[in-house]
């Protein structure tokens, strides 16, 4: 079996991973990016809307263009970056300090790395309802992939479940692609996403049904419709069921961090509701309890691309530093300043609460009891 070696292994080539790679490679470290998808960019390449955030993190630029900016930055130090797409890291064996990976479906190899940055992003959540396993019940990310990356029509008429930013934005993107959105159902009494996104879809005539949820999907082989109901304050169904005609039910009820590799590396994990799942404990350098492992982006807690990019830079910088590369004084503090600015809004409060649970000040102090 082929064996590869690198100084810094970056697992996942999304906003966080690319930023980490750019930061580390620019300082001269040998970096290897492994990405399971057929191209780099992660979630960014699926976003057609202009991003929120701050100027340093390209606010006002459309998501897929931000991916281009990061790839261009990497060009300037490309001799230090080895990229493998269509390659999934399948495991980490701590006894052998070795990663296993698979290119395509049949080429297996192992990797030795001095440091690893786990930037594996997130995966879609699903909610329980009858027939939620039928073809046509698609995650919001999947709908974006099929229409925005590959230009394939996802369906004729879509019921969107969830009125957070993702549900709102994907509804808008569906209409851009010429697909009808029957309605958006949202269990909460108010829209979770930004007001501007909600206003946009409402203006285009899509009803946002608050305190509503899906009860079951209709169809034998594939989706032919959905039954929805109103919910009371205790989220119990009340009143008559209503039928929605649709061939796709798009689930946008949130994401949860992808962290298997961190668990395999023995990193101390913690369930943090504010960060949407199980995440690795870390210090302010994004170093986990396993000193060889760093984490960044959605894998370290569901937030936004803006924060993912800065966290990626922090992780890249810290991995460099721990390998003995000289790093610019004050750089880490500058990045933390940017993170704090990004988290100063209403949504940031929740993230900060979550972070107070997982952030440790100093691993040595923790380990020495």
């Amino acid at each position: 079996m082929k064996r590869l070696e690198t100084e810094i292994l970056v697992i996942g080539g999304g906003a966080a991973g690319l930023s980490a790679a750019a930061e580390a490679a620019a300082a001269g470290a040998k970096v290897m990016i492994l990405e399971s998808d057929l191209h780099l960019g992660g979630q960014l390449v699926k976003q057609t809307h202009k991003f929120f955030g701050s100027k340093d993190e390209y606010a006002g630029t459309r998501g897929f263009k931000i991916a281009d900016i990061l790839l261009k930055e990497m060009e300037s130090c490309k001799e230090n970056i080895e990229i493998h797409t269509n390659t999934t890291v399948t495991g980490y064996y701590s006894e052998d300090d070795t990663f296993t990976a698979m290119r395509d479906e049949d080429e297996f190899f192992t990797i030795k790395a001095d440091r690893a940055i786990v930037a594996t992003g997130a995966q879609e959540r699903l909610i329980p309802f009858v027939n939620n396993d039928l073809p046509g019940v698609y995650g919001a990310g999947a709908v974006q992939t099929i229409m925005n990356v590959y230009g394939v029509v996802p369906g004729k008429r879509v019921l969107m479940v969830g009125a957070g930013n993702i549900g709102l934005i994907v509804s808008y993107q569906l209409m851009q692609a010429g697909v009808e959105v029957a309605a958006i159902v949202e269990a909460a009494p108010k829209v979770g996403g930004y007001w501007v996104h909600a206003a946009k879809v409402r203006r285009m005539g899509v009803p946002i049904l608050l305190r509503h949820s899906i009860k079951r999907a209709l169809g034998d082989e594939i989706i032919t419709g959905a039954m929805i109901t109103e919910l009371n304050e205790r989220f119990e169904p009340v009143g008559e069921e209503k039928k929605i005609d649709c061939d796709v039910i798009c689930i946008a009820v949130g994401l949860t961090p992808t962290t298997e590799i961190l668990s395999q590396a023995g990193c101390e994990m913690m369930y943090v509701p504010e960060l949407c799942g199980n995440v690795a404990r870390r210090d302010s350098s994004m170093q986990t309890s396993n000193p060889k492992f760093f984490t960044a982006g959605d894998a370290s807690g569901i937030e936004e691309a803006s924060a993912a990019m800065v966290e990626g830079r922090v992780a890249g910088l810290s991995a460099l530093k721990s390998l003995g590369y000289p790093t610019e004084h004050g750089r880490l503090e500058e990045y933390w300043g940017r993170l704090q600015a990004l988290r100063s809004g209403e949504a940031g409060k929740r993230i900060c609460q979550g972070l107070t649970c997982v952030l440790t000040e100093d691993w040595e102090a923790v380990h020495n009891g």
């Binding site: 057929l38 073809p135 019940v137 099929i146 394939v152 692609a177 032919t224």
Partner: protein, 119 residues
Amino acid sequence: MDEKSGPERGVGRMDLIHDHPILEFSHGEKITFTFDGNSMEGHEGEPIAMALHANGVRVYRETAEKHRPRGFFCAIGKCSSCFMVVDGVPNVRTCITPLKAGMKVETQHGKGKVFEGAE
């Protein structure tokens, strides 16, 4: 909705987005492959699952015990919903496996049979 209202299956009927206000799509070369013996068109290098979807195919496998139909769900290679038999190999993640000319794609029934092909 009428279950039969999807695009007809067969060569030359890919259901693609043509006019998009923001995105321009550059597709891979058009090639043919087979799905359960039917010849279909797709774009080389794009995921198998996308080509199937464009051809109106929604059911990719059938579960082992309850024989429930499965299509794709996450489209990023994480959920196992879109496993199919490709060139005799079962459990291929069709949402992130690139399509090649002449590929033989089949609906997977149950867990699939261990590949016994030559190598």
